[in-house]
Amino acid sequence: MAFRILAGCTGCWACAPLCPSGAIRAATPHFLIDAQRCSECDGDYADPQCASICPIEGVIVDSAGVALNPPGSLTGIPPARWAAVRAEIQAR
C-alpha cells in the first residue's frame, strides 16, 4: 500500500513537506515516494496529502496504477468538454 509519483511531476515541492511519513524525497527527473514509508496518509488525514496539493493531473497513482487526480479533476473540465470551454474562453 503506497502511492507512486510518475514522470510529469514538475518538482514543485508542494507535496514533500506535507507528507506525515516523510516518504517523499526531491529527486530528478521527478520526486519519488518511498514505498516502505508511504502510509497513504491512513490514520493521519482524511485525504492523502500529496495528492491533495499536487498541481499536475495523473502524476500520483495508487498501488494499482490508478491516478488520484484523473484528467479533468484539477482544471474542473472533463476532457469531453475541453473544446466547448475553449471556444467559450476564446470568445472573451
Binding site: 514538475t10 518538482g11 514543485c12 515541492w13 508542494a14 513537506p17 506535507l18 488525514y45 482524511a46 485525504d47 496529502q49 491533495s52 496539493i53 498541481p55 484539477l74 482544471t75 474542473g76 470551454v85 475553449r86 467559450e88 474562453i89 476564446q90 470568445a91 472573451r92
Partner: protein, 498 residues
C-alpha cells in the same frame, strides 16, 4: 457590484462608475507623506526611484497552495520572464549568501523580496528563515513579500516580527463567482477545495490578511491580473474595497497568457487585454498616476534595475564563495544612496510628485488624449526594432503631458536576422494587444508588420530612432494634432466586439 456576463466581450463603458463618489475620491487621494517617504527609494513603487535603485528577488519558496489559471509552476524556462518561473531554487542559507554577495556588488540595492516561485507563505519555514538571515546581516534593506493571501492571516505576526514593511497581495476578485473562473482549486486545512467554495475561502483570507497587515502598519500593495471577459468589469470594485481597507496602492497587471507557457489560460486561448482595455481599467480603478505604471512584472528571481534583469549573470555559482564584509557593504550602500539622493534632488522638477489621477483630470477633460506604444530597450529612448520587442510601453499622450499607462508583454515576432516576419501568430497577437493605440514608435520595422499595423488603424513610426521617448511622444502628438488626425483614447464600444 458590476454586472458580469460569462464570456462577455469586455465592459460596457457605462457600467463603470464615475470617479466622483466618496469612496472613489478617497481611493485616489495622494499618498500621505509618511507613505511617500517609505516608498521613496523603492524601485517598484516609485517611478522616480526605479531608474536609480535596484531590487532583488530570492527564489526560496517553491510550493504553492492554490492554482491560478494563468500560472504554470514550471522551472528552468529562461525564455520566459514572468512571475512564478525561476531558474535556481535556493535554500535559506544560499539565499542569504547570494543576497549579501549581490548587495556588496550592487550598492544601489535597497529592496530584497521573496515572491516565489510558488507562494512565499505556503513555504513559511523557508521564507521566514531567509528573512531572518537577511535581516540580521543587512538591517538597511527593505524586505518585501508577495502572496496570494490564503495563508496570510495566520502569519501576519511573523511578518511583522521579521521586519517586513511591504507586502503585496494578489487579489483578482472579491466575488467568488468570478474567483471560480480564475482559481480551480485551493489547498485548505489539509484538503483540496474546488470551485466557488475555494474562491470564497481565498477571498475571505485575503481580506482578513489585508486588514491585519494594515492594522500593524505594514504597507500593502494589491496586484490584480486584468483578464478580459473575466474580471475586467470587476476590478473597479476590487479597487474600492482594498483601498477602503487601507491598501496604499492597487496595481493592475495585464494578463500574460502565451500558449507556450503551458498555463490553462494560455492553452485555452484566453487573450490578454489590449492597451485600450488596460487604460480603461486603470481609469475605472482610479489608479495612481506615476506609481507602478512602470511595473515590469518581474520574475521571482529578478535582480537589478527594473527592465534590466541581471539575474542570469548572477547565479549562485557565479558569486565567489567566501566571506562578504557585511559592514563595509552596508557603508558602501549608504554612500551610494546619499549620492543618488543628491542627484535626484538636483534633477527633480518641483512638480515631480506622485500625482493621483484625480489631479490630472477626469476622462472628459482628457478627451484630446491618445494612446501611443513604444518599443524601447532601455525605457528612455525609442531604441528597439518592433519585431524584437518583448514588451511595449504604452503612454497616454495629450497636449499637456505624456503618462505611462503600463507595459504590455508580447512575443517578439522576429526571432532572428533572417526570420523577420516569420512569427505570424506572434505578430497577429501583438497587433491585437495594441488595439486602441494611435501610434507605434520603434527604431525599425519591417514592411509586413507596418502594413498590418496600418490596417489595424495604428500608425507605425520609425522616424525617431534613438531619440528620447518623452520628446518623441510630444513631437508626434503635435504632428497628429496639426494634421487633424487625433483620435480619442477610447474608441466606440463596437471596436471591442470586432
Amino acid at each position: 457590484m458590476q454586472p458580469w456576463v460569462p464570456g462577455s466581450l469586455g465592459c460596457a463603458r457605462s457600467s463603470i462608475p464615475a470617479q466622483t463618489t466618496g469612496a472613489e475620491t478617497d481611493g485616489v487621494a495622494p499618498l500621505p507623506d509618511a507613505v511617500r517617504a517609505r516608498v521613496h527609494d523603492h524601485p517598484c513603487y516609485s517611478e522616480g526611484a526605479h531608474h536609480h535603485y535596484a531590487r532583488m528577488h530570492l527564489a526560496v519558496a517553491p510550493a504553492c497552495n492554490i492554482q491560478c489559471h494563468y500560472c504554470n509552476r514550471k522551472f528552468d524556462c529562461s525564455n520566459e520572464s514572468r512571475p512564478g518561473v525561476v531558474s535556481e531554487l535556493l535554500t535559506p542559507e544560499q539565499a542569504a549568501h547570494k543576497a549579501m554577495a549581490v548587495a556588496a556588488r550592487i550598492p544601489q540595492l535597497t529592496v530584497i523580496g521573496i515572491a516565489g516561485p510558488g507562494d512565499p507563505l505556503a513555504n513559511p519555514e523557508r521564507t521566514f528563515d531567509t528573512l531572518r538571515l537577511v535581516r540580521a546581516r543587512a538591517p538597511d534593506m527593505k524586505l518585501c513579500v508577495s502572496t496570494n493571501g490564503l495563508a496570510l492571516p495566520g502569519l501576519v505576526d511573523d511578518l511583522v516580527r521579521c521586519g517586513v514593511d511591504h507586502v503585496t497581495i494578489t487579489i483578482n476578485c472579491v466575488d467568488p463567482e468570478i474567483g471560480a473562473m480564475i482559481y480551480p482549486w485551493i489547498f485548505w486545512q489539509n484538503r483540496r477545495v474546488k470551485g466557488r467554495r475555494a474562491a470564497e475561502i481565498l477571498i475571505e483570507q485575503q481580506q482578513k490578511g489585508l486588514e491585519a497587515l494594515v492594522a500593524h502598519g505594514v504597507l500593502v500593495k494589491v496586484n490584480s491580473v486584468l483578464i478580459p471577459g473575466v474580471n475586467d468589469c470587476h476590478l473597479s470594485q476590487v479597487s474600492r474595497v482594498v483601498k477602503a481597507k487601507g491598501a496604499f496602492l492597487h496595481n493592475l497587471l495585464p494578463l500574460i497568457a502565451e500558449p507556450s507557457h503551458g498555463t490553462f489560460f494560455g492553452l485555452m486561448g484566453q487573450r490578454p487585454p489590449t492597451a485600450e482595455e488596460l487604460s480603461a481599467a486603470q481609469d475605472a480603478c482610479g489608479a495612481d498616476m506615476r506609481l507602478m505604471r512602470h511595473c515590469r512584472q518581474c520574475r521571482a528571481d529578478a535582480i537589478g534595475l527594473l527592465g534590466d534583469d541581471r539575474g542570469s549573470g548572477l547565479r549562485l555559482a557565479d558569486l565567489a564563495e567566501g566571506e562578504v564584509d557585511d559592514r563595509a557593504a552596508m557603508e558602501a550602500r549608504q554612500a551610494a544612496r546619499a549620492a543618488i539622493e543628491r542627484s535626484r534632488a538636483a534633477a527633480r522638477p518641483a512638480a515631480e510628485v506622485l500625482v493621483p489621477l484625480a489631479a490630472v483630470g477626469r476622462r472628459s477633460e482628457r478627451a484630446d488624449a491618445v494612446l501611443m506604444a513604444v518599443a524601447s530597450r532601455d525605457g528612455t529612448c525609442v531604441d528597439q526594432h518592433f519585431g524584437q520587442a518583448s514588451e511595449l510601453l504604452v503612454y497616454e499622450v495629450s497636449a499637456r503631458r505624456a503618462v505611462r499607462v503600463g507595459t504590455l508583454q508580447v512575443e517578439p515576432y522576429c526571432s532572428g536576422a533572417d526570420a523577420c516576419g516569420g512569427g505570424d501568430a506572434a505578430l497577429r497577437a501583438t497587433v491585437a494587444v495594441l488595439a486602441g493605440c494611435a501610434v507605434l514608435l520603434c527604431a525599425q520595422i519591417g514592411y509586413e508588420p507596418w502594413r498590418r499595423l496600418e490596417a489595424a488603424g495604428i500608425q507605425p513610426n520609425g522616424e525617431h530612432a534613438d531619440e528620447p521617448i518623452d520628446a518623441t511622444l510630444r513631437a508626434v502628438y503635435r504632428e497628429l494634432a496639426e494634421a487633424g488626425r487625433l483620435k480619442p483614447v477610447r474608441s466606440t464600444p463596437d471596436r471591442l466586439t470586432a
